[in-house]
Symmetry: C6
Subunit: 212 residues, 6 copies
């Protein structure tokens, strides 16, 4: 979560919910990397931070792992809404939203992981030369562009619902972790998982993302 | 409110209504920063000015605060229409309209605060390099572009209705404050709030923006 | 009215109607600046010219004043059509049409003076830097672009009807003024208003533009 | 009419019909400048040429004159079709078609001479600076662009029908003039008009373009 | 027909059918230039080649001649399909398809030879200056663009049907000429026409392209 | 298949299925080049690789060969889905998807191998000069662009179904080959074909791609 430092206590509590939202959703999702640390100590533009330990190697990432990642990133905003209500959600999630949009768009346009089928809809070459970009950009029609947007929104909106329902069903763990984080400013991964295991509903059999 | 200086008495009165419109709507909205000063003394291009004291810190801004800000900025044009009628609204609000459009657009495209859901629909990097901008620009379809515009217009039109109805319901306070401002050219925040408290309908329980 | 000089008598008469059209419509519209001078003496590209005295100060211009200005600019072409018929209207109005289109567009996109509501739909910064312009340009959808065009056309077509009906109802004044202008090449504002007062139908209670 | 020189007799006859088509339609249209000379002597890329004497001065051009000009330019292709049939029309009219399209487009977008009304739909400044052009280009929507195209096509298709029916009704004059031109290679305006007067149907009361 | 040299016997036979396809369709079309030579000797990128003797002069080309040219160019691909079936048509026709598309597009956009009427829909000036091109490019709407594409496809698809039916009805001549070409690698125009005259169905009264 | 090296055993097995998927589909398709070697030894960015021996010469490629190539490239992703299920398909196919999209697009736009007919819909010149590219880009309408996309998707989705059904019907061969490849890291073409011949259902009469 990003923003200017020097936050008041109300903001601090909101930030704590936001960070624990990321970590708790990530921990309860099947196929997600384990939490390494959650902290409220600001760092650069970030008012709080959550680290995950990357699994062995990242050469190949499955569709299921990408959806888990999107869901856990949306866990921050989802926690704000679940706890404080829609009118109180903040600008702090701006960066998260950009990340999930990029991931969801790549699933659709680069990795063939949507109902559009196994095709490539973006220029992967990374070339920025004017003439070429242009030509590449025009490689698909407005009709396909609308279908891409629709798939991207579906992935994100589904994942957001998943994140909210995980947090609603694990409100006890959420509150316990926020209290601890507010008190100690940092929680290590092992302690985090221990508390989740004590309070969470689905600690053992993790939540799998449905595949349409 | 902007324009060429050296204004006649009719214009001066219109400017007074415009500025008090900003300040009165801002004062009566829940979640809005308090008025610091309202003045008719021109400054640069501005024919009149209203300052608000920023609340503690601005790291995180909530959806509700953004809507209050939009509503108070529209308070100037709303006062012109409520008092003088639609044919007499002026070009002086041009700058205000640009501000509210930018805020409303950011709510929709950057902060996921609309029915489109928690996704990012704009390039936040601020990069202006040609090739990249281009690619980014094409990141969404005409269909989504139309939905964005529709959400932006809805936010602004709703806020404008709110601003107008606040001013209509507090016409006594509005007239009293305009008389004072026309007479003294400047009103400090404390005095402003005192007069509002004496005359306004909703001084105690402030107006909350509904969240669809 | 613009064009190559050295005009024949038929053209000269058409130019006289065109200029008197501007001045007569402007004089009979409520909220319009008074005529200063009408002349048939060419000046640069202009074959004839009409000057208006700007009212006190122009810091704030009302919606009603903008519509009066558009109507009076269209008075030139309207006079051509009313007097000579549709097939005889000329290329001389090209510059006028560009002016009214710009004014009407600004009412809609910059000053929130249309049914689209109080929002800004154009880049007001005047920046021409490529990347930025681009981004700004894409700020609204084709759907909004069509609505803008429709509002612009409505403003212009309504104003043109108003201009034509003012001229049709004041044909006697029109003919009298054209005779005088053809004879003397220039009419000063005071004399112009005196003749209008003697012949025109609505000299006293001026024509107000309806506000939809 | 343009093309490579050294034409065979069949082509030469087609060129004669094409040039007399221009001249005959122009001569029979009300509001058109008089023919000065028609020739089959090649000149630059032109395989044949028709000159008209510009009327007194061209400062102001009426809607009716523009339509007459378009009709006479289309007279060349019309003659090819009337005499040789649709499959035998040639590439020689390419330049003519570009001229009539530009004229018809200007009637609609620059001079307000269509059902779209008295507004300007093109950048008249002639500026080619990138950023500005861009902004100007986006000044109207796809919906208006389609209406412009539709008006342009209507003007051109109506004028083409007029040109064809003038030629069909004056076939005797057409044949007589083509024989003379093929024989003498050049016909001066006075002789041309004399022959038209002897043979044409509507030599006296010229054809007026209807104004919708 | 283009491609890498060193072809096997199956490819060589396909190339022979492709080249004889061009030459046979061209020979049997009214308004087409006569065959000069057909050869299987590779030359540059071409695996085979067919030359036609240009008729007297090419200053003016008729609609009928353009359609004959398109049909004969499509004769190569048509022969592949008629003889080997749809799944066996090859990439060798890529260059032919570009040529016919350019010709058909010019018929529609430059020479007014379609149901869109006698107007110009392309920038003929050949200017490539950015600002201008842009302006020109935007000169027609998406609606017209779709109509242009539809006309271009109609011209090409009709011509392809004509080419296929000419080849199907003259299969004996086709086989005879392919055997000869495979054997001798080159056939001169006079011999080609002699064999066509002996075997073809419509050697005397040639096929005229219908004009819609 | 691409990605970072140093893969765990689960990933290694997935890569084996992916590579055998390519090779097995290619081997069982009529008109496809024979497998030369399949390997799990990483090379550059590739985590595994499959080579095919190009047939005699590639000057001319038939529609049927292009579809076989597309189907065999999709064999990698198809194997992932058939064996591990939709949620487990990986980012490793990104490069394959770009290749098949390019091939399918060329079939439609360059080689006239779709229901759009024998025309060219792309600029083949490879020029990147700005002005020209621009003009070329606008050479077809949004309507045609949508039809192109629809044809491209149809080719790819049909080929993907073919690849999946080949693998489902030859599961025994697939498992046998993956076991061998996991064990030995490389399989030469001859051995590969021998095993396919022993286990596969359609070893003798190969699968022909239907031509719509």
């Amino acid at each position: 979560m990003e923003g200017t430092a020097l936050v008041d206590s109300k903001s601090k509590r909101l930030i704590a919910y936001h960070e624990v939202g990321h970590a708790l959703v990530g921990t309860l999702m099947k196929d997600h990397d384990p939490v390494q640390k959650v902290t409220l100590i600001p760092r650069g533009q970030a008012l709080g931070l959550t680290w995950f330990t990357p699994n062995e190697e990242q050469g190949l990432i499955s569709r299921s792992q990408l959806k888990a990642r999107i869901t856990s990133i949306l866990g921050g905003r989802a926690a704000e809404e679940v706890v404080f209500g829609k009118p109180e959600v903040t600008t702090g999630a701006g960066d998260d939203l950009q990340k999930v949009t990029n991931l969801a768009r790549q699933m659709v346009t680069k990795f063939g992981m949507s109902t559009l089928g196994p095709l490539s809809l973006e220029n992967q070459s990374g070339e920025v030369f004017l003439g070429r970009d242009w030509m590449n950009k025009s490689e698909y029609s407005e009709e396909i562009a609308a279908k891409i947007d629709s798939q991207v929104r579906e992935i994100i909106n589904n994942s957001y619902q998943t994140a909210k329902s995980i947090l609603e069903q694990n409100r006890v763990a959420l509150e316990r972790l926020v209290d601890l984080l507010s008190d100690q400013e940092t929680i290590e991964g092992e302690l985090f998982r221990k508390i989740v295991a004590e309070h969470a509903q689905v600690a053992d059999e993790k939540i799998a993302v449905s595949s349409h």
